[in-house]
Symmetry: C2
């Protein structure tokens, strides 16, 4: 009697969240310090001090009628102006207020952008390992997901498979770099080659193929390797950004869609974005948070904890015999499971109160995800469990 | 190359907003005090003092990791618990946390609820005069809008026409009381009769017909007439609420969907709501504002200005010979235009710098909307223009 897809999505228990809730329950039994929960990609460091101060200033100093009033659908004009200037100074982005559309986070940005770009039956290529909600958003937009298997050596792009996945019906590609779950940043070499393939395919099929860059982890980098700015590599790039991770404010739900000037049919896409957002009931992104990001774009939380955790885990796991591609960003490690069946492997970990997520859920069996956005103490204490787990495979 | 519907929605100039922007421009020419802009339904009074204080308290006193962190998709459990208790004490609502789903305002609530309830091709009945985005949301959900012409005598429900509009394919009805644009509250007698018709139609067609109660103006009442609680009249009611108007915070984008226990297939609808929200990229409603409404549900802005404006305009216009149904709520008057062509009438008003919105846009030609959520001084000064307008028709 109700749409089957929505019923299924609403009833479907999310594996990650189920594991997380198991962890809470288990913590009540044996003490939370004895449960090594690495399930959720939920920032564990404070928002930047400047952002918290700015919020207080806005609430105390600015006119409540403006702070809590409607804005135009893409955002307050002054906010869009400030954001444009920030993006232009940071990335030489060619941004202008009428190229930005503020969203209620990255999920909204993706859901809106996919609806704006895809016609029913058109295909969107996704690279494994991938954030599983991509499939939900693509299908809700009437599109079809084409999954490219992972390059498990480096978690860059397996070009042969990638090229094969792009066909006549391909209208979009989603790229997530730094990546959830691998943490890997696509290198400039990878992006140059990917762009060449996409350009060739655009010529071959005679229509644009849009690269949707999902980049909530853009500023979470640790190795000196910067996150490349995708529109510099490929003209037909739409940028979807969220402040959830960089400013540790996932509950604020604020981000944007940016449609760069080099985009084919840039004005059409922007209009379709506005129209899709409107049809979905996104009146405007919360005004208070619009004003916050206008003032704080580019601010990043103190990443010391993530950096420490990342190093402790990478070194610790490698010493224990685990193999793991060294990731440049995000707050995830994606090591190889110690048996081919990652689900069985994660069950064995669970028996040691080590909660990690099977790679299968990310389209990449044989691996597992560690979300190291947790207190460092948990990382330190967990290494014993990781050791026991490794020993059980000797 | 992009979905036509979204392109059209994105490019379509909104008449109300265009008029509003004309007003801004005209104000720069002749002084803003000489433009009598009654176009936007944008609250003009401050948020409740208690709400502003609560926001400051949350930001200063509560853990930023919680205030800015993710919540579960329907909302933070403690928030849902507090909201349930508030609704139960205010309306004896039979609410529980697993019956509430926090949304990014009423537009999101409607867009989600309609997607959850309607199968492709199913019909949703709407009563004129109506908020034009209903059509957008219904069609985006794959549904078909059936419009019932207005009862222009009282702006209650024209029962004959209403009954005729309900057929085999009717799955939902949207009711908006207090109404935008008429300001009228449906009386208990109207609701009793409407419920009897709907129940009879449910029996006749052998399937539920859901009443979607869009009630952002619930607390904006002026005549001692309370807004009836719809689930008390009709079991198959889904409540969509927003704090935008009651707390003068439209930019905060916060509201909820409530699925009462008496609803046919209540658990299925709730699951479909969760699924539709997920597919649309609504991860969770902004956490800060969830916490605010948990503490402040039922708080209402000081309505003195609206009450004053309403009385000044009703009396003033009637003295000038205008006829207007006396509305019990919201912040709109919907008088009869002085000629059958409301578009021409509003153009004549515009020439007097009086910016009012033609009823045609609300599915009710021959009338016009005055949004009196403006400074009282504007109302007072506008009466001269309303007089000149009336005189031009003598």
């Amino acid at each position: 009697m109700f749409p089957e897809t929505y019923l299924a999505l609403g009833k479907n228990r999310n594996m990650i969240r189920e594991l997380f809730e198991y962890g809470l329950k288990r913590g009540r039994e044996i003490g939370p310090e004895n449960v090594y929960d690495f399930t959720l990609g939920n920032p564990s460091v404070l928002p930047p001090e400047t952002a918290l101060k700015k919020l207080a200033d806005i609430l105390q100093g600015e006119d409540p009628m403006k702070v809590f009033g409607y804005t135009s659908a893409p955002g307050d004009l002054a906010v869009l102006q400030q954001l444009s200037e920030s993006l232009n100074s940071r990335f030489n982005a060619g941004c202008a207020p009428d190229r930005l559309y503020c969203t209620v986070g990255a999920a909204a940005a993706l859901a809106i952008a996919l609806r704006a770009i895809l016609l029913p039956g058109e295909e969107c290529v996704v690279l494994a390992p991938y954030f599983p909600e991509y499939k939900v958003f693509i299908e809700a937009a009437g599109g079809v997901m084409r999954l490219v298997p992972a390059d498990t050596e480096a978690f860059q792009i397996p070009f042969d498979e990638f090229e094969k996945a792009i066909g006549e019906k391909t209208k979009a590609v989603i790229l997530n770099s730094p990546n959830n779950p691998s943490g890997v940043i696509c290198s400039p070499e990878t992006l140059t080659k990917m762009a060449a393939i996409l350009k060739a395919k655009e010529s071959e099929y005679g229509h644009p193929i849009y690269l949707i860059s999902d980049e909530p982890y853009r500023e979470l980098v640790y190795t000196g390797q910067e996150t490349p700015w995708l529109p510099d590599f490929y003209d037909d790039t739409v940028v979807c950004y969220s402040y959830s991770k960089s400013m540790s404010m996932p509950g604020a739900r604020i981000g944007y869609i940016f449609t760069p000037p080099k985009l084919t049919e840039d004005r059409e896409i922007y209009a379709a974005v506005c129209g899709a957002g409107r049809a979905m009931g996104y009146v405007n992104a919360p005004t208070l948070f619009q004003r916050l990001i206008a003032a704080c774009d580019g601010e990043v939380s103190d990443l010391t904890t993530y950096r420490t955790n990342r190093a402790l885990l990478l070194d610790g796991l490698r010493e224990l015999g685990y193999t793991c591609v060294e990731p440049g960003g995000a707050f995830y490690l994606f090591p190889k499971a110690l048996e081919p069946d990652d689900l069985a492997f994660c069950e064995k970990a669970k028996a040691l109160d080590l909660l990690i997520v099977p790679g299968t859920g990310f389209g990449c069996p044989g691996f597992f995800r560690i979300a190291y956005c947790v207190p460092t103490e948990r990382v330190e204490r967990s290494l014993t469990a990781f050791r026991k787990l490794a020993e059980s495979y000797r």
